[in-house]
Symmetry: C2
């Protein structure tokens, strides 16, 4: 299946399905289907593309399933995806669970199509998700250098405004694309009124810029439904 | 002047003026009027109360003007305020610029009327403002133990929702009181539409709970005006 057909059609508007095949937290003990090795990840991506995904959001793991940001692993994954899922949009995570500081961006020189980018800090269930301003600026500049389009992971309202400002200031490579992340404990809950305000802010302050939404855990489906109904895209 | 008269009257509703006499950042080099020593702070508070303030928000400083969270200094300040500004509401800062970890709450056993409380993390101009979940829970529990009413410092939307949830869960001593903090670089800008949404969230989800707003630096007056017009209170 070609990526161009991996869209659903709501009122004539194609909807992007982005699939996070592995993430940084779940292990096979929690769910035996979580793909850990590169070959499992390629196989899982292939199935996702067959099911309609057009973006693969990728984390890599060590053999013991702990998160990694090893560029060598990302390189092997990219090679496998290009071979087995030709045309799929490859998005690498630069998230903070897989490494610290500039190690989070070590794989950007591989020039994936996209990479995740957090532009603010917030609380996670048991700790602070730290994205200090200088690291945010560095990651954005590396993405500019290697022509990698960011997917902004917005865990709170100010992150959306910060992304819009960075885009206006010419600090974001390519089109602005924002993900509303909801239902992370101690960050933003999956709240319909907040979701509607997020969508309103995007529509009025970054008209034409696409956005998607994800609800963590049990809220995944409902948040995806909100996003599709509002003309946004989805992350699952 | 008694604190009961230190209110202005907008459409019949009294407005609380909270004055942050010192803050944690400004020095005499930036503004010679910044009160640093305890006696300067007491004098400055007295002037603020004469001018209409009913809450004094206090930080303490070392002799070299750097921020401190030394309980002994807070004790001397409290003694001075009780003597020279009888009846004023004393609010101590537990902010992260003056200390790290539980040192931020070492003065709560002095039982001030109020203390500031951050319930989430966010970016500051050059760093992460870290309020990890376990520290937030500990500070809130210390305020419960010593009967100190928090002023929640909300630097982003999720902080307001978190404060409302903590209040509903019985983790906030006394009445819920939220401050919207705007115009900290890399956090929430002074944005009227966001301000209106904040006020709407308080009105619909914590009806009857008072709130105030502060705009940092040059936005102070305009944000105070928004707050007064919307039936809120002010911090300056
Ligand atoms: Zn991810
Ligand atoms: Zn609007
Ligand atoms: Zn303060
Ligand atoms: Zn509402």
């Amino acid at each position: 299946m070609k990526p161009s057909s991996s869209t659903s059609d709501i009122a004539g508007k194609p909807c992007i399905l982005c699939c996070a095949i592995t993430g940084s937290v779940p292990t096979k003990a929690a769910n035996p289907a979580v793909p850990i090795s590169i070959s499992e990840q390629v196989e899982s991506s292939h199935a996702a593309v067959e099911a309609g995904a057009s973006i693969i959001h990728a984390h890599v793991r060590n053999d013991d399933e702990t998160p990694s940001s090893d560029p060598e692993k990302f390189a092997r994954l990219k090679e496998g995806l290009e071979k087995h899922c030709p045309g799929v949009i490859i998005q690498f995570s630069t998230g903070g669970r897989s490494g610290a500081g500039q190690a989070r961006g070590g794989m950007l020189s591989l020039r994936p199509d996209m990479a995740s980018l957090s532009v603010g800090s917030n609380n996670f269930p048991t700790r602070v998700y730290e994205n200090p301003p200088d690291l945010v600026a560095w990651l954005a500049s590396e993405m500019m250098k290697y022509e990698v389009t960011p997917e902004i992971e917005a865990f709170d309202l100010s992150h959306i405004l910060q992304a819009i400002k960075m885009h206006e200031d010419g600090k974001i490579f390519g089109k602005l694309y924002v993900q509303f992340v909801m239902n992370v404990k101690n960050a933003m809950p999956a709240d319909k009124e907040v979701f509607d305000f997020y969508a309103h802010i995007m529509a009025t302050r970054a008209p034409g810029s696409p956005w998607c939404a994800a609800g963590i855990g049990p809220t995944q489906h409902v948040v995806n439904e909100w996003a599709i109904a509002a003309g946004g895209h989805t992350r699952a």
